[in-house]
């Protein structure tokens, strides 16, 4: 069906970030009030499947999680006694408690990982995206650089666990060294960081490349006329012009890195010692190995609050709050 010209009075093109746009929309023209009531019921039927899934698999678990965190809770017997907010108080303030030490240690490791991974997860994809933008050949380079991001954590870590072996691993054979990549610090963190950058840079590259293509071509032409080379144009034009997309990629990478679990779980086992155990591994360990589900639920809830705050920042930014 061909698209006819727009009607007067409202636009068919809404600004994509204007998530409140529905307010401006007129409803379907329903004349009689009976038809309107019937229309309301059918509208609910459209949203019902989502609401049922959302209620049962997001909203209810959040409430249930808070309930669990207020009890002693064992996965086999379930509820074994009300403890109120004492688990939270213990986690946050009781320095002598093992749980509290795990919580703060895990949180510290997670924040450390965010700090050492996000700069690379922004810079490396930006350099690749810019290179592809300048060199051309996007239909060749983009999918090839993107592909590792489609692999599972299991595939990625089992490959890297093999090539990072101290004895006989490919990396040490090439370097002619015996670096303890997975079993000593600071190598263990370097390996987790390296593997994560290798794995997920392609995804960020796609978004940054799209950001570069949205820039007016004239900004690059102007730099070329001034005689700026590829490298100086990168710093003087590409980085400042694409900054909003860089911030966006930085935020989604922060959220992804905050959720770190599979790479240390499968590469280092959280070790040596507990030195690469992020908060998620302590939550998993307390909940499913040590059977302290109340404590694990409380840790997870606190971590959830921290993450939701970051997401809220992202939402605020996406709606133009940064401008």
């Amino acid at each position: 069906m061909p698209l006819r010209p727009r009607k007067k009075g409202w636009s068919t093109q809404f600004p994509v970030k204007d998530v409140g746009a529905w307010r401006k929309r007129p409803g379907l023209a329903t004349g009689a009030s009976r038809a309107k009531a019937k229309g309301t019921v059918s509208a609910y039927l459209f949203v019902l499947p989502f609401l049922v899934l959302f209620g049962g698999l997001t909203a209810y678990p959040i409430g249930y999680g808070i309930y669990i965190s207020l009890h002693h809770w064992n996965p086999i017997v379930g509820n074994s006694g009300w403890v109120g907010l004492s688990t939270y108080a213990e986690l946050l303030f009781d320095g002598s408690s093992l749980f509290s030490q795990q919580f703060w240690q895990g949180l510290g490791h997670t924040v450390l990982f965010v700090g050492i991974s996000v700069p690379f997860l922004v810079a490396v994809p930006l350099i690749i995206a810019y290179g592809i933008y300048r060199a051309g050949g996007k239909s060749f380079f983009r999918p090839l650089y993107f592909f590792p991001a489609t692999l599972s954590a299991t595939a990625v870590t089992s490959i890297w666990a093999w090539i990072l072996q101290t004895q006989g691993g490919a990396v040490n054979q090439i370097l002619g060294m015996h670096l303890p990549w997975l079993v000593a610090q600071p190598w263990a963190w370097i390996s987790i960081d390296l593997v994560t950058v290798w794995w997920t840079s392609g995804f960020n590259m796609i978004i940054l490349y799209a950001g570069l293509t949205q820039l007016p071509k004239t900004v690059f032409d102007a730099a070329a006329i001034d005689g700026a080379g590829v490298v100086s144009t990168f710093f003087s034009v590409a980085v400042p012009q694409v900054k909003p997309v860089l911030v966006f990629v930085g935020i989604i990478s922060t959220i992804a890195s905050f959720n770190l679990f599979a790479q240390p779980y499968l590469l280092t086992g959280g070790g040596p010692g507990f030195s690469t155990s992020p908060i998620t591994m302590f939550i998993y360990g307390e909940g499913f190995n040590a059977m302290h589900m109340g404590t694990a639920a409380a840790m997870a809830f606190l971590m959830g609050i921290a993450l939701a705050a970051i997401s809220l920042g992202q939402y605020w930014f996406a709606r133009g709050g940064g401008q």
């Binding site: 409202w10 459209f46 589900m293």
Partner: protein, 277 residues
């Protein structure tokens, strides 16, 4: 001047190509190791001296300790069913939010915004207890349903539906179409591209997910490929790298095929959704 710029372009392309060699080395090493017998695993050669398929034969042999095909089936079923579920449920919901007016729409809208911010880890423990209480651990329900409440997809399709011209809708309504017919006959056909993107992204996320299937499946026959291989890798194969690499290669092949088939759609989809969300 032109020659100078042309040379710069070729240098950039050469650097990108060199980057690909580094990027793909681990995958090449996986393939190489998978084709070596255990005795030559540590020989440091990229090209196996005596390539063998023995590792693959061992994996697929009847009675093998790793039911790879069963795990692959579980993964494909979970990923396929969740993608269909997400696309259908999200499309219906997005249609109502974008095109219908009803009391409480605002509440639904903000519920969806809020649920975008709930990290999975916050519901891991209660979700496990919920499925445990319903006796649904180690079932396909557990591997499919938790991915169904996908607020991201509602947003994606909602943005798309907002841009659909009103005239299409009015023409259909004038023909006496019901709202369901309007959705099915007008909105679904024109939103195939974003629905395919959403379906692909969901498929890859579910196929590659690790933490939830790790806790939700304890019986070996119900593991997904990622969990099955991870538990094998930690356990008995930890020193038999050729076998582990062959197993890993088997898990990569389906995603590679899907990628070759759908890479354009996927790359374009992430380009647009990345910038809109």
């Amino acid at each position: 001047m032109t020659n100078f710029h042309l040379r710069r372009t070729w240098m950039t392309a050469a650097l990108l190509a060199a980057g690909l060699v580094v990027l793909y080395f681990p995958l090449a090493w996986m393939v190489s190791t998978a084709l070596k017998p255990l005795s030559q695993a540590f020989d440091g050669q990229l090209i196996p001296a005596v390539p063998t398929l023995a590792n693959f034969r061992a994996i697929f042999a009847p009675g093998s300790a790793s039911p790879v095909l069963r795990w692959l089936g579980n993964s494909l079923l979970a990923a396929g069913a969740s993608s269909l579920l997400v696309v259908t449920v999200d499309s219906l919901c997005a249609f109502a939010l974008a095109r219908l007016r009803f009391p409480g729409r605002r509440v639904v809208f903000y519920l969806i915004v809020a649920s975008l911010m709930v990290p999975f880890i916050a519901v891991l423990i209660p979700l496990y207890e919920e499925f445990s209480g319903l006796n649904l651990l180690n079932t396909y329900w557990a591997l499919i349903l938790p991915y169904g409440a996908n607020a991201f997809g509602v947003f994606l399709l909602y943005q798309f539906f907002l841009g659909v011209p009103r005239e299409l809708e009015e023409a259909a309504m004038a023909d006496g179409a019901s709202r369901f017919q309007l959705w099915w006959k007008v909105f679904v056909p024109i939103s195939i591209a974003p629905m395919v993107t959403l379906g692909l992204i969901t498929f890859m996320n579910v196929y590659n997910d690790f933490l939830w299937p790790l806790v939700a499946t304890t019986s070996q026959n119900m593991h997904t490929l990622t969990v099955g291989i991870a538990l094998m890798a930690i356990g008995q194969y930890s020193t038999n790298y050729p076998l582990l690499m062959a197993l890993t290669l088997c898990s990569v092949v389906p995603i590679l095929l899907a990628f070759i088939f759908a890479q354009r759609q996927l790359v374009e989809g992430i380009s647009t959704t990345g910038l809109t969300l």
